[in-house]
């Protein structure tokens, strides 16, 4: 259904049941090139299938500990990543599989990491919550809510002090907004005019606590104003809207305007983690949001713009399935680190 009317209205922070916006034309500022669009779709599908496979492997005991799935939020990672260069830095949370894949870290290295194998991106030392790839300037994978923000501020500080015009993108959730580090970090970044792109993935829940139950002021963009940081709210289920907003914000940060906060209004279709029986939200609410699945939504639009047909989709799904299967094979074949190596990498060996 194409509604040729105005662009999608911004979603209120707490979505009332039946007020879902209609599909719309692409934002005027993004020329939708077919190749680029199919690329976005491919990346979102890769994340979706990778996460589904991870869920399955968790139930089989291959992946252990905590597993936080990104299903439903794919548009945020994929859209935002379009605005970042390989020279920019990224700090993310424990729900970082989407960002890691969108950044280009091979799926095999990520799967092997979750298996705990030595060929994982962090040598098997981190697991699902601690993906690191320094060559791709991906600095984790942080399990303490709000813990990554100060590190992002510091990376940006180093860039500023060394005269490097690059951006540090910092992903965090609505829960982190409650931590002191959020406030300290926004304040310091603004005070010192640091190139931090604060990217808040507001999926309406801090683990099991709904936004209006943990924030006296649920409009997160207003908080940034309190620190003189410009901010904007974005429909996080629309990959093109995410891309457009992030490109604009990143340009300003890169120019030296100081930090910027983007609030992506999104939703996770799965529980907080594999161990969560989701007692805190109604199944109807989940179904409502699923009807705005970013992947289906995007596919619908691409079809309506005649940029996607069944053959294209089939090719993408086949390619994605192959990637995921290959990732599992890579992980299964990977070696375990020998126990003798237990205490390595606690301190940096010093060359004499």
């Amino acid at each position: 259904m194409i509604d040729a009317g105005s662009p999608a209205p911004l979603l209120p922070a707490s979505l009332p049941p039946a007020s879902l916006p209609p599909a719309s034309l692409p934002p005027a500022s993004i020329p939708v090139v077919r190749e680029h669009a199919l690329g976005l779709l491919y990346q979102m599908l890769l994340i979706r299938r990778f996460e589904e496979k991870s869920a399955e492997l968790y139930t089989l005991g291959k992946i252990r500990g905590f597993l936080h799935l990104y299903i439903g939020e794919e548009a945020v990672a994929v859209g935002a990543m379009q605005a970042l260069t390989m020279d920019d830095g990224i700090v993310a949370t424990y729900r970082e599989h989407g960002q890691a894949l969108a950044r280009g870290i091979p799926a095999g290295a990520l799967m092997a990491e979750m298996y705990g194998k030595a060929n994982g991106c962090s040598r098997g030392r981190g697991g699902s919550m601690h993906f690191f790839d320094v060559a791709r300037r991906f600095y984790g994978g942080h399990a303490i809510v709000g813990g990554g923000l100060p590190v992002a501020v510091g990376l940006a500080l180093a860039d500023r002090m060394q005269g490097r015009p690059r951006v540090t993108a910092c992903f965090f959730g609505d829960g982190a907004v409650a931590e002191g580090e959020f406030h300290e970090s926004l304040n310091l970044a603004a005070l010192w005019r640091l190139p931090v792109l604060f990217l808040c993935e507001n999926n309406l829940y801090a683990m099991g606590t709904a936004l209006e139950r943990h924030q006296a002021q649920p409009d997160l963009t207003l908080k940034a104003q309190g620190y003189a940081v410009p901010s904007e709210a974005v429909d996080g289920m629309d990959v093109l809207a995410v891309e457009e907003a992030t490109r604009r914000a990143a340009a300003g940060v890169r120019r030296g305007d100081g930090p910027f906060l983007l609030e992506f209004r999104t939703y996770r279709f799965r529980a907080h983690s594999m161990a969560d029986p989701e007692l805190y939200r109604a199944k109807e609410e989940v179904e409502q949001w699923k009807s705005r699945d970013p992947i289906s939504f995007f596919m619908g639009r691409l079809r309506s713009w005649r940029l996607l047909d069944d053959a294209d989709l089939g090719a993408i799904e086949t390619r994605v399935a192959g990637q995921v299967d290959e990732a599992v094979r890579f992980a299964e074949a990977g070696p375990w680190e020998p126990l003798e190596d237990l205490t390595r990498d606690v301190y940096t060996p010093v060359q004499p």
């Binding site: 830095g89 994982g120 991106c121 962090s122 040598r123 098997g124 030392r125 981190g126 601690h130 690191f132 790839d133 320094v134 600095y139 984790g140 994978g141 942080h142 399990a143 303490i144 813990g147 923000l149 100060p150 590190v151 992002a152 501020v153 510091g154 990376l155 940006a156 500080l157 180093a158 860039d159 002090m161 060394q162 540090t168 002191g180 580090e181 300290e184 970090s185 304040n187 310091l188 005070l191 010192w192 205490t343 390595r344 990498d345 606690v346 301190y347 940096t348 010093v350």
Partner: protein
């Protein structure tokens, strides 16, 4: 060699580092305009400018975390946390980031961060401003902990910390800032992990660090007047600990007393005592003694604070007790 105070020695090292390496910078509360709460960084803002000497808001967690991030980004930051008491606000960044990033990333990252903190009690500043938490920090794999007791070591260990690729926490006892000592401003940096015999002896090994070294030396003088020649070992480095030096001293004297300003329970002295038991059990002629702070939050009134802290008389008493009827 020049005679200078401990704070002047730290300042000299900071100046030398800021001058010789453009990647070094200092940040913390009141380090710039105020000249430093303990006047350590006095004059540095004027000399190096606000980019290299940065006053921060009262945001310990974030500015220490920013120090971590800056270190990851190639800088050599020196973060000054005004006192160890305020470092508690930054504990998450210290324990969950600084200490773990290398390990969690599978060896991809190093965090070459230096954190300086004033520590210790004795100025009647009461319970929230008088902690000695070096023992807590020494507990954590992934960071290093040093405690210089003299102006020469304050300079030497800070320069060593700046060369270290891993996070180093430098504990400067606040009572030492005015202490005088000889400093060679051309000397090479000290070695982290090496203890120093301040006074050789054969009767008892008196093992200590930081703010207690002076009291221990005074106690040694008193005991010497009675013909008891104690050996004073200044640990200088708590993590890594110079265990061979400790054991070598005990192998010689067969008795040990550890002096530590932390509270006695689960103190750093307990760790040293355990290591002596493990490594020198058959050399011991008496149980290892400890002189630590009393189990009480630091009281304000002077006579109470004095009674809570390790003092020369208690150190002398502990030595005599370990010597038994012959002491």
């Amino acid at each position: 060699m020049i005679k200078m105070t401990y704070r002047e020695a730290v300042r000299s090292a900071l100046r030398e580092a800021l001058r010789s390496d453009s990647l070094v910078f200092l940040m913390g509360e009141d380090v710039g305009r105020y000249g430093g709460c303990f006047k350590v960084s006095h004059g540095l803002l004027e000399e190096f400018g606000p980019e290299r000497v940065r006053d921060t808001p009262l945001s310990e967690s974030t500015f220490l975390g920013a120090g971590i991030g800056a270190a990851l980004g190639g800088m050599r930051p020196i973060v000054e946390i005004m006192t160890v008491n305020f470092s508690l606000l930054a504990m998450d960044q210290i324990v969950n980031n600084a200490a773990t990033l290398r390990h969690m990333s599978g060896g991809q990252l190093s965090v070459p961060l230096v954190v300086r903190m004033a520590t210790g009690a004795g100025r009647q500043v009461a319970a929230q401003h008088s902690h000695s938490l070096e023992g807590w920090y020494a507990h954590i794999p992934g960071i290093k902990v040093v405690a210089p007791a003299t102006p020469a070591d304050a300079r030497g260990l800070l320069l060593a910390a700046l060369r270290d690729p891993d996070p180093v926490f430098v504990f400067e006892h606040s009572a030492l800032y005015g202490m005088d000592g000889e400093v060679d401003e051309g000397a090479a940096p000290e070695e982290i992990g090496r203890a120093l015999v301040r006074r050789p002896g054969d009767a008892v090994s008196l093992i200590t660090y930081g703010g207690c070294v002076g009291k221990v030396l005074q106690a040694a003088d008193q005991l010497a007047a009675d013909g008891i020649a104690v050996e004073v070992l200044d640990l200088r480095s708590l993590r890594p600990l110079d265990t061979p030096a400790v054991l070598a001293s005990v192998a010689k004297t067969h008795r040990a007393v550890i002096v530590d300003e932390g509270w006695r329970t689960c103190s750093f002295a307990a760790e040293v005592s355990a290591q002596i038991m493990e490594g020198a059990f058959y050399s011991l002629d008496a149980p290892v003694g400890r002189v630590c702070s009393a189990e009480v939050p630091m009281p304000y009134a002077k006579h109470m604070e004095d009674a809570a802290l390790p003092q020369v008389a208690a150190i002398v008493g502990a030595v005599r007790e370990t010597l038994g009827p012959h002491g």
